[in-house]
Subunit: 413 residues, 2 copies
């Protein structure tokens, strides 16, 4: 076994990966009722004015405003009810002087009418209403195109489709929306020591668990995980598996075999596939990480240790996944927090990832060791302590990255 | 048309709905790689101790600690390398005095060895290593059950399955997990004026858009929306549609026809189906809302106005959806904010829902009218102004409810 060469700083590693990542270009068309959370692949404009006709915004009576001009205290006007308009109907005639039509919210304003007076403001007698104040023209009326003129932008390309955005499309008569495909992320675990969960344990073997955690992060970032069973420590087999994964995915994540031992084959395979971006990141846990650009795609080799793998999924891969999935932002929000206890930065030359939980406004590490996956249980943020410090004291104000969603929080599939 | 009877206060309406809502009881079994975000339906315990054998946590050499007891400055010890253990292997022999075995991270500790010294701490010569400090027993070794003793709780029933929870299950050899089914939420729009998006506009008609917004909120809350095309204003047809929906879902949301007009049939249908919980909520927008308990299920009639419907989906239905889906919390977080401008509470007897966006630390209403769905665009929170106030002045500190996810934020499907 040999040592790492010069390690790549965390910011440099992330920047190289991010700048090499290509947003997905495939699109698909979905009903607006099934597009929640997807990213619009085109700008959508109103195909018609909305509303497409003058309509009332209240239940009431459509009137000619000029019939009420002279109305005042002690001088009411009586208007004869000549019809009724339910929401979906158009009044067939034209409103004459002294006439009114009962109209339900959303109903089309009859020809001749130019205002609506609401039920609560009139007295209804047999066959007529009494109006006691002047009704201004346009009152309680929504004109054609009031909400959205024809051609107005409803949704911009690149927008994440929220409930209101989708409701707006539907309300404007748009039945479907073109969205970017969810990027496919292939996961290729390697290592002779890996057992697939579901069989009895065996001495020397461990259960493969990075598939499960990577699938979760990929899903949370808007991607589709495509998992595979562990591949043995055979460089030809690993290379073949990665090449096949490249053909059928937008990003390949290989787990295990990323360090500098004899059985770590990725450092020799990745340069054969494309351009190596880095091997060895100046971070703990998670140093044995490497990445290569292969055409428009990326292959990232992640450490097999579950905590190192998952920590790297968050600080390094999440922003990359989000860029490929065309999501805004890195997936975490920067902030400050006060440490609740002394934190160790045990390796002077390395940055230290500290998973954090918050209690009474202070941040506490959840780290229990890189082999123990529960090191990240309950963490909702992380800090990246800079290299060269041994102990960061309780009470120190540190930069933290709040995960959205938090590590312990979830999204439905 | 007649007036509402006594309106139900917002807190009372929500409490009645919440206390009548029954968490879903159906379960399904999923691979741990596909269960992200789901809710565990059973407590899961470690089926084996993890690790199941003593293993090294570092790359290094397995040693007998007693061989190094006398070591000190100027008194190194040389140990003969008698073999090599890759991660998946078990060393066949037993380590004798003065012997060592090279061992990769995760490798099983050979019989006789009780500590590991890491590569960086020794000098390797031809066939042996030189150790210059005493190695304490147990150093760099993870004992059987160190991470999880057999039978220890890995995931508790009712827990949302995070990346770490799923990784923990996989690492302990658990291949699948029983989760609660996502509740099915049937949506039954009614109204003769409703057009399904995709056809040309027609005078008097509007495009049905509540299906799209409700589907989004239901999805965000962990449910499965089951939508239907609009049903005409025929009480028998509406009742039949609601009864059919009750048979095939966990919750029925009927939209439109919920007010007090002649064409509002829900107030007459719901009492026939079960026990009316309320009709008319003292809130603006969203007053024409009613609900009934039908056996173990709920039918809620929501106003057809898109903004009123969606606002009620958030403040009233989201907590109910989350309870049925067995999610913790109401789906929003309480906080305080300072109003950036005067806000109107126009109806003295009604609470007022104000959708809010934040800018420079102040809260601004996004409301543009209850018929305009974009009234909620960009809102990430809402306030519920109490009844009896006319204007709430800029600079006032108000209680706000931050939506998680925000109205404008999304989750992948």
């Amino acid at each position: 076994m040999h040592a790492f060469g010069r390690l790549t700083e965390v910011d440099v590693a992330r920047r190289r990966l991010l700048s090499a990542a290509r947003p997905v270009r495939r699109t698909e068309t979905l009903p607006v009722t099934e597009a929640f959370g997807r990213v619009a692949a085109a700008t959508i404009r109103a195909p018609f004015p909305v509303p497409s006709f003058a309509r009332t915004t209240w239940d009431g009576y459509a009137v000619r405003s000029k019939d009420t001009t002279a109305v005042g205290p002690g001088h009411p006007v009586s208007l004869r009810i000549v019809g009724e308009v339910f929401a979906e109907q158009a009044y067939p005639g034209r409103l004459g002087a002294g006439e009114t039509v009962a109209i339900a919210t959303g109903g089309a304003i009859p020809a001749g009418a130019d205002a609506v007076v609401i039920f609560e403001e009139v007295e209804r007698t047999e066959g007529s209403i009494v109006v006691r104040r002047p009704i201004p023209p346009g009152d309680r009326i929504s004109r054609p195109g009031h909400d959205f003129p024809r051609g107005s932008v409803l949704v911009r390309q690149g927008t994440e489709l929220s409930a209101t955005a989708l409701g707006t499309l539907a309300a404007c008569g748009v039945p479907t929306v073109a969205v970017y495909a969810r990027p496919v992320v292939a996961v290729v675990p390697n290592g002779n020591e890996l057992l697939v969960p579901g069989v009895p344990p065996r001495t020397g073997m461990i259960f493969e668990s990075n598939n499960a955690t990577i699938a979760a992060v990929v899903t949370a970032a808007g991607g589709i995980p495509r998992l595979s069973d562990p591949v043995p420590d055979d460089p030809a087999v690993i290379e073949r598996a990665i090449r096949a994964a490249l053909d059928s995915s937008d990003l390949v994540l290989a787990t295990g075999g990323s360090s500098v031992g004899e059985r770590d084959h990725l450092p020799r395979i990745l340069p054969r596939l494309g351009t190596l971006l880095f091997h060895g990141v100046a971070v703990r846990a998670g140093k044995p990480t490497l990445a290569a650009r292969v055409g428009d795609k990326l292959v990232v080799g992640l450490p097999g240790h579950p905590t190192s793998c998952l920590a790297n999924m968050y600080w390094l891969l999440l922003p990359v996944l989000r860029k490929i999935a065309r999501r805004a932002g890195p997936g975490f929000t920067e902030g400050w927090a006060v440490l609740g206890h002394d934190a160790m930065a045990p390796s002077p030359g390395l940055s230290t990832i500290v998973p954090l939980r918050f209690e009474n406004g202070r941040a506490y590490s959840t780290f229990r060791g890189s082999s123990i996956i529960t090191s990240l249980s309950g963490a909702t943020a992380f800090a990246m302590l800079p290299p060269g410090r041994r102990v960061v004291r309780a009470g120190t104000r540190i930069r933290v990255y709040h995960l959205d969603p938090p590590l312990g929080t979830v999204r439905p599939e």
